[in-house]
């Protein structure tokens, strides 16, 4: 049996009296897209930050391809909620800086690669703009291009759309969806349940720093047997219930469904290859956007 691509064993993080991560075990195979869901304060972002090496662990270890990952060694890339672009540099310079300083590329080489990366996220035209001159969605796409340029083998997305409006959210999610199609290994913390349901191959539900549910995304959303997850999802569905009806007839909201009754009607399971069918989640949280062909070198935009 081969070692998993990412292995997190017994991760613990404690700050003062607060247990932020409580013995988390997680193993991720290459090419897997794992959606991390859970209420605020459940430890989702902390888990990502500990895997990235940004926050220190008080116990456990993280191995990527069998080795301890060091922040900045190029193995792990991370996309943040607040984009974290460098405001004094243009979009192109944001992408090119690490290529020059870390990868030791020449200015011309780095510039060319930065343009190619921006093209990949549909922003080739905006290379000379500063972050302040871009929309939130565009800024996040620049941040994704900056991460992709360093060719990480694992990308962590920490609520990449949490500070974006629904339209901008869609354009960022389309980019992530395109990345998933290229086989990139990703951990995505998101409150966009529809997106997680449709893109992630696996969903992990955290609460109070512990993994409560871990399984195939469809099963996690369809069955939702774990009471805490069930409560979490029903609150979410209540919140989106009054969204306008999508074109396809939406499933009735069953927020107050009795235990054992499926929260999301999946009476007719989709064929294995077809996209997951969670119409309400899909429509409310992730309106169909213009898919950006992330894999293609020349996205039309």
């Amino acid at each position: 049996m081969t070692a998993p691509f990412l292995l997190a064993e017994g991760l613990e993080r404690r700050v003062g009296d607060t247990q932020i991560l409580d013995r988390i075990d997680l193993s991720v195979e290459r090419g897997q897209v794992v959606g991390l869901i859970g209420p605020s304060g459940s430890g989702k972002s902390s888990l990502l930050r500990c895997i990235a090496g940004l926050d220190p662990l008080t116990g456990g270890r993280v191995l990527v391809e069998g080795r301890a990952a060091v922040p900045g060694d190029g193995t792990i890339g991370m996309v943040f909620q607040q984009f974290n672009l460098w405001p004094h540099l243009t979009a192109g310079e944001n992408v090119a800086l690490a290529l020059r300083l870390v990868r030791k590329m020449s200015r011309a080489e780095a510039g060319e690669r930065a343009r190619a990366m921006l093209d990949r996220v549909g922003l080739a035209k905006f290379a000379d703009r500063r972050p302040a001159q871009l929309s939130g969605g565009q800024q996040q796409r620049v941040a994704i291009a900056r991460t992709l340029a360093m060719e990480p083998r694992l990308i962590l997305f920490d609520e990449p759309t949490a500070s974006l409006d629904p339209e901008l959210t869609t354009e960022v999610l389309d980019v992530i969806r395109g990345l998933a199609e290229t086989g990139m290994t990703m951990l995505v913390v998101s409150h966009e349940m529809g997106f997680v349901a449709s893109v992630a191959s696996r969903a992990v539900f955290l609460d109070h720093g512990r993994v409560l549910v871990d399984g195939p995304a469809r099963a996690v959303f369809r069955d939702a047997e774990e009471p805490r997850l069930r409560r979490f999802l029903s609150t979410y569905l209540q919140r989106v219930a009054w969204a306008p009806e999508p074109e396809a007839p939406a499933m009735p909201v069953q927020a107050a469904a009795p235990a054992g009754f499926p929260l999301i009607d999946a009476a007719s399971p989709a064929p294995a290859e077809a996209p997951a069918r969670f119409p309400l989640l899909d429509a409310a949280a992730n309106p169909p956007g213009e898919g950006l062909p992330v894999a293609g070198p020349r996205a039309a935009r």
Binding site: P71, G72, F80, L85, W86, P87, V102, R146
Partner: protein, 211 residues
Amino acid sequence: MDPTFIQEAMPALMRGAAATVAVSLAAIALGFVAGAGIAAAATSGPRGLRAFAAVYISFFRGVPLLVQLLLAYYALPFLGIDIPAIAAAVGTLGLCCAAYMAEILRGGLATVPPGAVEAARLLGLTRAQSFLRIRLPIAARAMRPAIVGEAIMIMKASSLVSLVGILELTRASQALASSTFMPLESYALCGAIYLAINFVLMAIGWERRRA
């Protein structure tokens, strides 16, 4: 104002102005370097250094610059430390400037979002690269108006060093006024030259603010 007077007075005043600019720029440079050290000590130094930085900043901001200058030039010799007037002038102005620069730098670096530094770290930039290419440029934007303001203050405060015998712009105009008995013209010219010098500094601040 009599053009002939201006013509005759300008060479001496310009020599004084050159001394003013030289003393001030040296003091600002010293202030910036020493200020960076004090800021580093105040923010991330061990307890002893932090306490030193706090005392340093309090002393130089709390005691009038003129008193500091008199202490350096007239009082230190009583302790066996005899320093030339130019060293007392540049040193006092520079060390005083450092106290203000330290506070400006500390405040400027605090405005850098931690996320910008984290992104740099994850992308593999070293601490030095992150400081020089990310933290400092971002902080510089916030600090620029305050640094230009401090530079202007030092340029004006340099008039005090005339008291320890440095022949700078103020002292040159004093000499001019007493030798020509034309104080109005002498000091008006003196003020106009200070204004012109500081106008250049202000213009640097405006230019950069637009960029």
